[in-house]
Symmetry: C2
Subunit: 198 residues, 2 copies
Amino acid sequence: MYESVIQDLIDELGRLPGIGPKSAQRIAFHLLDADPEDVKRFAQTLVDAKTKVLFCSVCGNVTVDTTCRICADPRRDDTVLCVVEESKDVIAIERTREFRGRYHVLGGAISPIAGIGPDQLRIKELLGRLQDGMVTEVIIATDPNLEGEATATYLMRMLVPIGLKVTKLASGLPVGGDLEYADEVTLGRAFEGRTAVG
Amino acid sequence: MYESVIQDLIDELGRLPGIGPKSAQRIAFHLLDADPEDVKRFAQTLVDAKTKVLFCSVCGNVTVDTTCRICADPRRDDTVLCVVEESKDVIAIERTREFRGRYHVLGGAISPIAGIGPDQLRIKELLGRLQDGMVTEVIIATDPNLEGEATATYLMRMLVPIGLKVTKLASGLPVGGDLEYADEVTLGRAFEGRTAVG
């Protein structure tokens, strides 16, 4: 229906996660109407990000240097290591200002359906980082979903025998939500993990 | 929080219509993980589309030539002109295969809030196309919302005195929907526009 350059643009946009065909069309026409300089800058930003962004050689987080800002920061606590799936999880945890240790980014979660097993994740690198005995606690902060839980279980089985303190983030009611809207699994977990207040 | 090249990418993506901050972050990390060749091709597609796509000198539709495919097609009916807001409306109508006339793309709708008045739309060009008396019917196919209706009213007041047949697309129940889920305005319009069946 469309001229091929327009269809190509719609197709490329439609390949992005969470963008359906209607949104892709809407964004394409927005870009066709936009200032040519804005579109050029957007295209350049894409190429720049892809060229400049590397993965930290220590933790696997995104970085523009060989090691990321957190690994390079001497003030962080070397005895606690928090294991997450993705770089964006690092940012989410940093925003809480609750954690001053180091991170390890796995690069995903175990998912047999997507063909991702432990070998596709940065687990060997994690074990390597634990060898010098500096780390005394590993906090597993994978996503609270099927793949994240499977990954957490795998990591626990591997790390507990080493004699490390292994902890997991608490499951429970999201703060600011309504109890009645919590799903039954979350509510169940909130009961299991209830804490004494008096 | 992020390295500036990553933040720039998230910001650029967040400027696209319908992309919130969370989606922008998700898409950015998807692109950082993607094959560099794929990202380069995406950036090139953006620049290509923006460089090659023009607006038809006759109807205002998107095109890669001076006149669009529809205006250039000698088999279309020159006596009926369908007025739409955007190029994507042309595609939507073409998909129905119900219309064999010509189009006129206004480039938007009257919206005092967005500062768009009749002068910002291609209405002068529309009147120019009607001067040779070839067109006998103008079908107004603006969006069935506030701005679209305002634009339709403006066009009707301008075109009816010229002595043209002016029609508007029917409002009513969307086909395939449930009557109970139709909003009251749509249902009211469906009553107003009811047709005799026997």
